[in-house]
């Protein structure tokens, strides 16, 4: 029963209750801040900041403790396996989060917008706004912009002549390459090539930052030059929410990878044995997941 000799049951811990309390402060702050958006002198945002800071700090010390326990040899192969399963199921939950937004996109594209335009089985809906015609990307709204700001241009494929200035294509190239580089890092780690590992991981982190930069550029374009905003009807809603949550996940994944880079470069963590580098591997799984989501976005939001 060798693998079972080392059940690791951690002693009492203060981290969870700190995390729960700071999460509470965070969401109370967030809700009050959002409710007070019209009042610039509201103090709620400081509650939000306090929550963010304490939640971030708790997570930092919590993760640090887990790493220290690992380095002290307290954990076991079994615990490591628990982390592996845990991470996999966490990523599955993220998949389902995106599924909700993709589901909304498919629903409006196949059902609600055509119906509002008078097509299909529920085309009766057209009597709400009789002048509305269904198209996609939707550059108007059924109420013809009465309550919304209608965009001039969409983010979709602009035609072959303009392809080189089309940011989403560059975004795709950047993100796909970063999946390759993080994989190269992993190969080198397993081959005990620590230097190359650091370099490839560094390249990945730079690509992540570059992606976020391009994405910010794209949002700037949208808001400043295309008139495309959150308030542009369902096209803008789905576009910004899908790419926005994806961008947020890129930042999270990038943060994870940077932490791994710092741990590797400054603390010489991670060894070739899979048991000795799951932190990195988990971050790289997350990174591949973010990449797959982008491929879906590229297809269903930008191209099709």
């Amino acid at each position: 029963m060798s693998t079972y000799e080392k059940y690791y049951v951690p002693e009492q811990s203060r981290f969870p209750i700190y995390a729960a309390t700071s999460l509470f402060i965070l969401v109370m702050g967030a809700a009050s801040t959002i409710n007070a958006l019209g009042q610039p002198d509201s103090m709620s945002k400081y509650i939000l900041y306090a929550g963010l800071a304490s939640f971030g700090a708790t997570l930092f010390f919590w993760f640090r403790k887990v790493v220290q326990e690992h380095l002290a040899g307290l954990d076991s192969a079994q615990l490591n396996q628990s982390f592996v399963y845990g991470m996999a199921w966490f990523i599955f939950s993220e998949v389902m989060f995106f599924a909700a937004f993709f589901g909304a996109l498919f629903y409006v594209r196949t059902f609600s917008v055509p119906w509002l335009g008078g097509e299909g089985e529920k085309g009766l809906a057209n009597m709400l706004w009789e002048n509305f015609q269904s198209t996609w990307p939707l550059l108007t709204t059924p109420d013809l912009g009465a309550a919304y700001t209608v965009p001039e241009k969409s983010m979709s494929f602009p035609g072959w002549d303009k392809i080189l200035t089309w940011l989403p294509l560059w975004n795709t190239i950047v993100l796909l390459s970063s999946s390759v580089t993080v994989h190269m890092a992993h190969i080198n780690l397993k081959a005990a090539n620590k230097n190359k590992f650091n370099i490839w991981l560094g390249v990945t982190v730079s690509l992540a930052i570059f992606f976020v930069f391009l994405q910010a550029l794209e949002y700037y374009e949208a808001y400043e030059h295309y008139g495309l905003t959150l308030n542009s009807g369902i096209y803008g809603s789905t576009f910004f929410m899908l790419t926005g949550f994806h961008g947020f996940h890129v930042m999270m994944g990038g943060l994870m990878l940077s932490v791994m880079l710092i741990r590797s470069v400054f603390y010489n963590h991670f060894k070739p044995d899979p048991h000795e580098h799951f932190g990195f591997e988990a971050a790289s799984w997350y990174w591949h997941f973010v990449d797959v989501v982008w491929v879906m976005l590229f297809m269903f939001v930008y191209i099709l």
Binding site: Y4, Y7, Y8, V9, P10, E11, Q12, S13, R14, P16, I17, A20, T21, L23, F24, V27, M28, A31, I34, N35, L37, E69, A72, L74, L79, Q81, S82, Y85, G86, W89, F90, F92, S93, E94, M96, A99, A100, F101, G103, A104, Y107, V108, F111, S112, V113, L116, E121, K122, T141, P142, A146, A147, Y148, L230, G233, I234, G236, S237, F240, M241
Partner: protein, 526 residues
């Protein structure tokens, strides 16, 4: 051989003293206890709100509360019972039982376990605090359909949204913990098809939770954006659709109702087998029935939306898919009955609750089948018939199974036997209370009384009065339950390790109460 490694010197593995034991604990039994007491507290709060509702409905006309407040009570009652009472109770039972049943020392990720619990009190503090906010608490029903929950919502909806967010985070973490424990911590020899059915039921439940809680998070996020940041997911003027909200909500919502009943299936299977002194009639068919129910639960959601105006093909598809669920459900019911058939049955309190579960849950299943018939549902939808249906599956279904579980395992947990006479009294009061409350709601529903309205036409008066009397009886008998449990925890006849003659499973091989870390070395599983 010291098998449990602890990073401190205390080798007794006993609990810490004082309040910090509960705040900082990483022990699955402590956390299970916290969940169960929390759930009971929420059960009483949500129950008090139900009594406000029933008191208002005692007679036609406006009697006690304002309509606005009535709506807030209705909404909070539903949310509290679903997310605060039933779900945490099952997570508490999973905490107590899953590690013991699979032969593990604790849950796989003990610190995250503590975090999952402690998020809950904060989330409900946040939700309940909305009662004192300007505009009052959420008033749009527990299903929070847009645009009631967006365009026409009180400002407190923002707090509601974030509360749902952290509740979801708690559920996802709890579910990950259960799955990982089951997949990774089983004692050697405990193959999947040797796992106790409660463990199986929770494996499937946890999978459902991880699949649908993020979808709920997506739904409330879209609401938040629609309300505050100008998007138009649920607004047709911008090209969205309020019906989209219902699709997303029920894609979460229907699996959610199975989240609230699958663990009950597991519990009842254990209890019926023990008190019939027979092996379960068909173990593997029970497992496969649960797996099929879980899979089907993803393709039936729109049976809640038959009247909303869907294409005909969708109406038909969701009707047939829903009816299909009756097949595996029937497999389970026949299984329980066949287990009892020719058994040497004794009627201790857990068994009474379990038998009542089988009978009354089946009634709820049948009314569900009636609702699944699309043309019939055009009549029944949004009437008290629906209220009767889901209360039959939730109260004598989920809640009775939880009570059965408490009576069944409480002697194991605290080492003392409960008072059998009082337990039976509690059962009969609850049984009568539940039926007097909810059976008449079938009649007034079929006669056309709409749900979610504080006033009604005169012809519904008699049965409403009966229903309210039943509700107060049921409510009062839960005080007796509290009394019985507290008394048992404080003392009483000592329980043996087996507790029940013929009970099967690893948890009955250890002392009552079990050691703080149950299995520090993995037990033998044959």
């Amino acid at each position: 051989m010291s098998a449990v490694i602890e990073s401190h010197d205390d080798h007794h593995h006993g609990p810490a003293k004082g309040l910090t034991r509960w705040l900082f604990t990483t022990n699955h039994k402590d956390i299970g206890t916290l969940y169960l007491w929390f759930s009971f507290t929420m059960f009483l709060i949500g129950g008090a709100m139900a009594l406000v509702i029933r008191a208002e409905l005692f007679q036609p006309g406006m009697q006690i509360v304002e309509p606005e407040f009535y709506n807030q009570m209705l909404t909070l009652h539903g949310l509290i019972m679903v997310f605060g009472a039933v779900m945490p109770a099952f997570v508490g039972l999973a905490n107590w039982l899953v590690p013991m049943m699979v032969g593990a020392p604790d849950m796989a990720l003990p610190r995250m376990n503590n975090l999952s619990f402690w998020i809950l009190p904060f989330a409900f503090l946040m939700m309940l605090s909305s009662l004192f906010m300007e505009g009052g608490a959420p008033n749009f029903g527990w299903t929070f359909y847009a645009p009631l929950s967006t365009t026409y919502a009180p400002p407190s909806v923002t707090f509601f949204i974030f509360s749902v967010h952290i509740l979801g985070a708690s559920s996802i973490m709890g579910a990950i913990n259960v799955i990982v424990t089951i997949m990774n911590m089983r004692a050697p020899g405990m193959t999947l098809m040797k796992m106790p059915l409660f463990v199986w039921s929770w494996l499937i439940t946890a999978y459902l939770l991880i699949a649908v809680m993020p979808v709920l998070a997506g739904a409330v996020t879209m609401m938040l954006m629609d309300i505050h940041f100008g998007t138009s997911f649920f607004n047709a003027a911008g090209g969205g659709d309020p019906v989209l909200f219902q699709h997303i909500f029920w894609f979460f919502g229907h699996p959610e109702v199975y989240i609230m009943i699958l663990p009950a299936f597991g519990i009842v299977s254990h209890i019926i087998s023990t008190f019939s002194r027979k092996e379960l009639f068909g173990y593997s068919s029970m497992v496969w029935a649960m797996v099929s129910i879980a899979i089907l639960s993803f393709v039936v959601w729109a049976h809640h939306m038959f009247t909303v105006g869907m294409p005909l093909a969708a109406e038909l598809f969701f009707m047939w898919a829903t009816m299909l669920i009756a097949v595996p459900t029937g497999v389970k019911v026949f299984n329980w009955v066949a287990t009892m058939f020719r058994g040497s049955i004794t009627y201790e309190t857990p068994m009474l609750f379990a038998i009542a579960f089988v009978v009354l849950f089946t009634i709820g299943g049948f009314s569900g089948l009636m609702l699944a018939i699309t043309p019939a549902d055009f009549q029944y939808h949004d009437t008290y018939f629906v209220v009767a249906h889901f209360h039959y599956v939730l109260v004598p279904g989920a809640i009775f199974s939880i009570m059965a579980a408490v009576y069944y395992w409480l002697p194991k947990w605290c080492g003392n036997m409960y008072d059998e006479r009082l337990g039976r009294l509690h059962f009969w009061l609850s049984f009568i209370g539940v039926n007097v409350t909810f059976f008449p709601q079938h009649f007034i529903g079929l006669a056309g009384m709409p749900r979610r309205i504080p006033d009604y036409a005169l012809q519904f008066a008699d049965w409403n009065m009966v229903s309210t009397v039943g509700a107060f009886l049921f409510g009062a008998s839960q005080i007796l339950f509290l009394f019985i449990v507290v008394r048992t925890v404080m003392g009483g006849k000592k329980a043996t390790p087996e507790v029940w003659e013929g009970a099967q499973g690893l948890e009955w091989t250890v002392d009552s109460p079990p050691p703080y870390h149950t299995f520090s070395t993995p037990p033998e599983v044959k």
